[in-house]
């Protein structure tokens, strides 16, 4: 009895170890590909991309520059959404304009909050979202159109963008 259960567990553990070894690299590559694609999506074309750099208040950021001029920053920013962490890649121009955004990971409700990855009206409003606009959903007196029936997700998304924009602004201040 004990022998049988031990034997089955050993065989299963061996199988899992093998599959894990086989899939570790593809999983890493898939995650890296998703990251590279999201950075490419949120930044203007051209420019050389720096390596990941960490900073306070955000996850990490990448600088896109041509010669010595900074073209834009790609900032990875995480907040808590309705169902868990919401990670957004935000492309920010040096003047604080949001170039574009892209969701990296989320656990929002399918059909509701999860629309932050598919609702075109919501996603397109982030393209060239100028620094003069207020980073709050309209319900709270800002300029962000929330997703219907998903105010909490929309607020979290807005906070993620705000963190990224504030970070770029603080970088600019340091340079001055």
């Amino acid at each position: 009895m004990v022998l049988c259960l031990t034997g089955v567990c050993l065989v299963c553990a061996a199988i899992l170890g093998g599959v894990n070894a086989l899939t570790t690299n593809p999983i890493k590559e898939a995650a890296k590909k998703a990251l590279v694609e999201s950075i490419a999506k949120v930044l203007p074309e051209g420019g050389n991309l720096s390596d990941a750099q960490s900073a306070e208040g955000i996850d990490e950021y990448y600088v896109s520059s041509a010669d010595t001029t900074v073209l834009a920053y790609a900032v990875k920013s995480t907040t808590i959404g309705f169902g868990g962490p919401l990670t957004v890649m935000v492309g920010v121009l040096p003047d604080g304009t949001v170039y574009n955004t892209s969701v990296l990971a989320h656990s929002e409700t399918p059909g509701l909050g999860a629309k932050c990855t598919s609702d075109e009206g919501f996603m397109n409003q982030w393209k060239n979202f100028g620094p003069e606009k207020v980073l709050k959903v309209k319900k709270d007196g800002g300029d962000v159109d929330a997703i219907t029936a998903s105010t909490i997700t929309s607020r979290a998304y807005t906070v993620a963008v705000e963190q990224a924009v504030n970070f770029v602004k603080s970088l600019n201040k340091q340079e001055e």
Partner: protein, 194 residues
């Protein structure tokens, strides 16, 4: 029992969702759209066929006292394999189904078929039973998903044909119960006639 009826039984006579009423957790939670239902069904099909095959192979050697732990270990192994494979090769599917992949371990359909069928029948029959039940589950989930997507989002497999937002309740849990209930009534009405 003919080999063919082993598969067709899973669709009508032993339909896991509408007749056996097993595996309600993923049924209610993942059918917010037709595509999600289909993907969840196929993921369960994969685990069901493999666990049925292995369990029918090893069941003569497993003492009665530990047969449930042994079956669960086998099922959990295949679920973890599936999870790793999805994460590596189909990350978008992994993103949508997320939590519900590991929960296939405790899906009563998988353990139910191991107990009710695979440990008493040959490997071939068990594999066919797994395919039949798995396809029946996939079909049921897809149908529920289609109905909920049409009513809740005005689209089908992501193709939007009704402008606007749809009836929100059908995307959320109450709609899942309603659609499941009405489909079960319809299904049993036609199944009994045959």
């Amino acid at each position: 029992m003919s080999k063919f009826s082993l598969i067709t039984d899973g669709f009508v006579k032993n339909n896991p969702t509408f007749v056996l009423v097993l595996g309600m957790c993923p049924t209610l939670a993942t059918t917010t759209s037709a595509m999600n239902g289909l993907e969840m069904g196929l993921a369960t099909l994969f685990v069901l066929v493999l666990s049925n095959i292995v369990i029918s192979l090893i069941s003569p050697m497993v003492p009665d006292k530990v047969h449930i732990p042994v079956y669960i270990v086998v099922i959990a192994t295949f679920v973890t394999v599936l999870q790793l494979l999805l994460q590596a090769y189909l990350p978008s599917v992994y993103q949508t189904l997320g939590l519900f992949i590991p929960l296939i371990v405790v899906n009563c359909i998988v353990l139910g078929r191991a107990e009710a069928f695979a440990n008493k029948n040959t490997v071939g029959d068990s594999a066919l039973d797994g395919i039949g039940i798995g396809l029946g589950f996939t079909l049921s989930l897809t149908v529920i998903g289609i109905v909920r997507e049409i009513l809740g989002s005005g689209s089908i497999f992501g193709w939007k044909f009704i402008p606007g937002d749809g009836i929100l309740a059908f995307v959320m849990a109450p709609g899942a119960f309603m659609v499941l209930g009405y489909l079960m009534v319809l299904f049993n009405k036609f199944a009994k006639k045959n």
